[in-house]
Symmetry: C2
Subunit: 207 residues, 2 copies
């Protein structure tokens, strides 16, 4: 049983390790990874021991080996994908971003109700009508849904995604989605992040 | 010295308390707030004791009083605002969202380099040219900057915001900003949240 916060840290370590490797680095130290997530070198060492990866205090960790080990844990054995519902300003920003960063989780399909968006291919991703949701998810290995629709449509969209087999939701709408216990939901709220930044901007950079 | 994670929790409690009060509720229990942030009732009680607010196990906490107490801590004594730099897909989604949710931190000004955006008023917020950044920030109480520009422009934008007096940055670009020690930076990365959701979608809903 891996705690939610640890999965978050491992994902952030891997993202940064990939950047360092692209810059030509081969060994990384626990204090560098710690600084990345606002944690301590001891927490990094604990995280990496939990996933069975050890380094040495003098020589640090071997970067590509560590990326592989984290990927074994984080990535699905078979190709998994994401469905995006709502291709407005936020949806377009997400498609634009993912088309450039090639994450391990490709956005396989997008859905919207606006006629002028349906049938278009945006940043390499096809936008389908909401009426096609079940049919498209029946043919694609989608396990995660991104909810980027207006708040009044959010619960209805979540219900349909779950009905079609999705087991994880990334919710951008300012409402709490009611889901069955086997579905994992993560709320993203920029307002909470902004309040945190403003607090530490006034009180000196936090821990 | 309040830890970063606690500020995040307090902000999330307040957001949800406001919704419950709008629905007509007057008393809230620690297990309800705990469930909101994936924490325990004991952690909620510890958080609220740290800010000097107590309830009773039988009757819970009085909601409007608790909102006021959290606001005294989180909000600035004088009106503070935010500057948004980069009014593309993501910038527009942020302006659209904040124009509807009236947070305690208003977006006072937006900046971009694209001629067709400069001088327009989008969702109640004026878009200025980047050449006007210092002049506009000299007249508005801006302490936080949102960086929503293409990655290659990010560091330059951060430097100018800091030079103009901003002490907190919310960074959406996939690069680590180099800032002086008195500046607080928070990186937002949807890819990390998505990987976490996908992990728990496969392994059953997390803790
Ligand atoms: N969490 C945050 O910090 C944050 C930040 C920005 C936006 N948001 C939220 O994200 C959501 C999207 O924001 P936006 O700026 O992109 O809005 P938008 O209005 O630009 O886009 C919404 C899109 O959803 C589509 N849509 C409407 N009803 C639908 C339905 N029933 N099924 C499928 N598609 C539907 C619309 O056609 C449109 O393309 C909103 O709920 C907004 O509050 C949250
Ligand atoms: N962190 C995440 O999860 C996430 C998600 C989506 C997008 N993003 C990132 O957010 C940023 C914006 O994404 P987008 O989809 O809105 O891109 P976009 O290209 O639609 O918008 C960028 C805007 O910045 C403006 N701009 C360019 N150079 C500038 C400069 N020097 N000063 C001021 N403005 C400038 C452009 O004119 C444009 O309006 C990108 O860096 C993208 O990678 C991150």
């Amino acid at each position: 049983e891996i705690p939610v916060r640890m999965v978050e840290r491992l994902s952030a370590y891997r993202r940064q390790l990939r950047r360092w490797v692209a810059e030509g680095r081969t060994r990384i130290y626990s204090h560098e990874l710690g600084a990345l997530v606002g944690g301590t070198p001891a927490q990094v060492r604990r995280d990496l021991m939990t996933i069975g990866y050890t380094g040495s205090p003098a020589r640090g960790y071997e970067a590509t080996g560590l990326i592989e080990r984290i990927s074994q844990l984080l990535d699905a054995p078979t190709r998994q994908g994401v469905a995006l519902v709502g291709v407005g300003y936020l949806g377009r920003a997400i498609l634009n971003y993912f088309s450039k960063t090639h994450p391990d989780l490709p956005i396989l399909a997008a859905f919207d109700v606006a006629p002028e968006k349906i049938g278009r291919v945006l940043d390499g991703c096809r936008c389908y009508a909401m009426t096609e949701l079940e049919a498209v998810l029946g043919t694609q290995p989608v396990t995660v849904g991104i909810v980027a629709v207006p708040v009044e449509a959010a619960q209805g969209v979540a219900d349909r995604l779950i009905q079609a087999g999705v087991r994880g939701l990334l919710n951008f709408t300012p409402t709490r989605l009611r889901v069955p216990p086997e579905v994992y939901v993560e709320d993203v709220d920029i307002a909470v992040s902004l309040e945190k930044v403003a607090f530490f901007a006034r009180h000196g950079a936090g821990s």
